[in-house]
Amino acid sequence: MSALVDRVLGWTALGLVALTVWLGLWVTPPDELQGDIVRLLYLHPALAWVALYLAFGLAALCSALYLWPRTRAAKWDLLAASTVEVGVVFLSLTLVTGMLWGRPAWGVWWTWDARLTSTALLELLFIGYLALRRVPADPHTRARRCAVLALLACLDVPIVHFSVQWWNGLHQGASVLRAGFHFTIHGSMLWTLLLSFVAFTCVFAWMVRRRYQLAARDAALEDTELHAALVERRKEGVR
């Protein structure tokens, strides 16, 4: 059953991405200001959206569920970890595509625009999360600590979002949002943009699912492993 779901999800994701690419590269017109580079519009915002809201939102949710005594369960911890891992990938892609875009659009790979900076910080926050996960510790302790850290890290998400409004007074250089509004959003462009959101959402769902299954399998493996270990341990006694 779940295998079927996987396959369906996987193929739909692939199909939608392919469709987005086709629409994005061939159907939609180039921008008169930016030329073909504008086609990153169908990549970058979607990636960012998935990373910010889906991935880290889910991570926060799962962490909260883990911390809440009544709903505490190992699966929430695993799920949170999976979403963060995938989210970090997506956010990295956001940064990369953003830079690729920034070079032609702003003439630089990077500028200290509020959004860019806050995004970079967000990335680092969750790298910190992964680092904390790596530290050897009793699984419960680790789960608790990571959950708390995830919640704290997610405080940065709204900052990223509103950074444009909050800091635009203070930051020179093209802010992302203003750049966004320059586009003459052509019908087909709009549809492709929306489609890209759906497509990458599917990709995200698929990746997280796979990652989670992996983690869960590890945990399950641990259980069987534990059985063997128990037998071993008891044998120590009879000598």
């Binding site: 050897p136 492993e225 128990l230 341990r233 008891r234």
Partner: protein
């Protein structure tokens, strides 16, 4: 008497290693349980489990009426532990360490001085940073802490280690007092003869499970 400790096939992990591999144990309130066993048998782990410091992986356990799975936080304040490692703030003196703990338990700090006197830490010894105390003296502070705080459950991990002879005498005396006062004592040791004298129940731990249970002399004495 009510049961102070009830474990049923309790499993506890250190990392991924099952230090306790299914322990069944019953301890009555107001009795002394001695845990023997070779190095690595799981004595320390058992004590930590009973103190709510180590999580129960599977099986069930109740200590002082608290469920080890769900009520460890309620259990801990009723437990006193003397472990392998010193539990003192090295920068603070013995007196200050006790005062801190006692205030935290809403007790008069004066009890500390009495207890320290009892374990023979008087004058300068009570006021130098506890880091500079000798190994045995630090264990004595640990004993003083338990004596001053009078927890419902005493967990002593090889209390005699590092103590000189009258230190051990003192320790045995404190245990006896505590039990007479209604407390329960679980102590681990590598000295069968000694513990046989002071314990009601002697448990042999091996490979993370209870290998054997014997009745100690104290039970007979009391009965």
């Amino acid at each position: 008497m009510a049961p102070a400790v009830t474990l049923r096939s309790a499993v506890a992990l250190l990392g991924r290693f099952p230090a306790l591999a299914g322990v069944d144990l019953d301890v009555e309130e107001g009795t002394v349980l001695a845990v023997l066993g070779p190095n690595g048998a799981g004595k320390t782990s058992l004590l930590h489990l009973l103190g709510g410091l180590l999580a129960l992986r599977s099986g069930t356990g109740r200590v002082l009426g608290c469920d080890l799975a769900t009520q460890r936080r309620a259990l801990r304040p009723q437990v006193g532990l003397l472990g392998h490692a010193s539990t003192l703030y090295p920068e603070l003196s013995a007196a200050e360490n006790l005062a801190f703990g006692l205030r935290a338990m809403r007790r008069p700090a004066s009890d500390g001085a009495v207890a320290l006197e009892r374990v023979g830490l008087i004058g300068a010894l009570a006021t130098v940073p506890s880091r500079s105390l000798s190994a045995g003296q630090q264990r004595r502070v640990g004993l003083a802490w338990l004596a001053a705080r009078r927890p419902a459950l005493w967990l002593l991990d090889e209390p005699s280690a590092g103590l000189d002879e009258d230190g051990r005498e003192l320790c045995d005396a404190l245990v006896e007092e505590a039990v007479r006062g209604g407390a329960t004592v679980v102590l681990s040791s590598h000295d069968p003869d000694r513990v046989a004298r002071i314990a009601d129940l002697v448990v042999d731990l091996a490979g993370g499970v209870v290998a054997q249970v014997r009745v100690g002399e104290r039970a007979r004495r009391v009965a």
